[in-house]
């Protein structure tokens, strides 16, 4: 991939129980992610996706753009913004900002229904 090129888009629709499975896998059982009633009581639309699940999708799309070897990903920084919800498609898209000396830097965002849920993501990859 060359500078200015878009990386292949990753589209994933988290099913209704993804936050529960991610809670078990990660150990983050904050009730805003797994208890819709609790989430509504604190002013959320319902239980929301874990931000770090979204960051994992950004990591997946970044690794895939470099050929799929997980060792390629050297650095990833993100900002969490609007909330993601289950049962709606999340898309991860990005552009190659720079490519030189076997390294590639990507600008990436994750969006859901037109809202950026992860923005200003920057991924640095080492190409073998």
């Amino acid at each position: 991939m060359r500078a200015g090129e878009r990386i292949p888009e990753l589209a994933v629709t988290p099913d209704r129980y993804v936050p529960h499975r991610y809670a078990g896998a990660s150990g983050d059982f904050n009730p805003i992610h797994i208890d819709a009633e609790f989430a509504r009581a604190v002013g959320l639309p319902g239980n929301i996706l874990h931000g770090l699940w979204g960051m994992a999708q950004v990591a997946r799309a970044s690794v895939a753009s470099a050929g799929g070897d997980p060792r390629a990903l050297r650095r990833l920084s993100v900002q969490f913004r609007g909330m993601g919800v289950p049962e709606q498609e999340v898309t991860v898209s990005g552009t190659v900002r720079d490519r030189s000396d076997g390294r590639m830097v990507l600008d990436v965002v994750a969006e859901q229904a037109g809202n950026q849920i992860i923005r200003n993501a920057e991924a640095e990859l080492e190409l073998s």
Binding site: V12, V18, R21, Y22, G24, A25, S26, G27, D28, V42, G51, L52, W53, M55, A56, Q57, A59, R60, V63, G68, D69, P70, R71, L73, R74, R75, L76, S77, V78, Q79, F80
Partner: protein, 146 residues
């Protein structure tokens, strides 16, 4: 909002995490990561790993036990009702495989306010059983004011 910055630089006891093969598979499945190197030992060894390899973001799993005492520290005084995970950065080095023992230390990198919000920034550093660094993390928590 004016915040107490006296705890900048405070460090917390290291936390040790033993990486299980099934835990890597469980995590990989939860984030939709189907690549065989995260599930199948033979495929992972064929690709040059010691065992099933963790996806990069698995670092949040082995760091969790080190992060909790810092974020929950009453001396830091984070108000959980208004807490947001604002930003996150990881820098990776040595890959993490099943059977590894990862030791993570955390310190308070910065505390500051910006407008009505308070920012609490923690730094983690993780090493494996050989002393090689696996990941460094910068965890930015925002407490909304007003």
């Amino acid at each position: 909002m004016s915040v107490d910055t006296s705890r900048i630089g405070k460090s917390y006891p290291a936390f040790e995490y033993e990486v299980g093969r099934e835990k890597i598979r469980e995590y990989a499945s939860a984030v939709g990561e189907g690549a065989p190197v995260h599930h199948d030992r033979e495929q992972a060894c064929g690709a040059g790993f010691r065992d099933v390899v963790a996806p990069p973001m698995f670092c949040v799993v082995y760091c969790a036990g080190a992060m909790a005492p810092a974020v929950l520290d009453p001396a830091i005084g984070i108000d959980f009702a208004r807490l947001l995970h604002g930003a996150q950065e990881f820098v990776w080095s040595e890959p993490v495989c099943a059977g590894d023992v990862i030791r993570t230390s955390v310190n308070v990198k910065d505390i500051y306010d910006k407008g009505p919000n308070a920012f609490y920034v923690f730094e983690s550093r993780s090493t494996n059983q050989d002393g090689s660094e696996t990941a460094r993390g910068t965890w930015t928590n925002i407490v909304r004011g007003g």
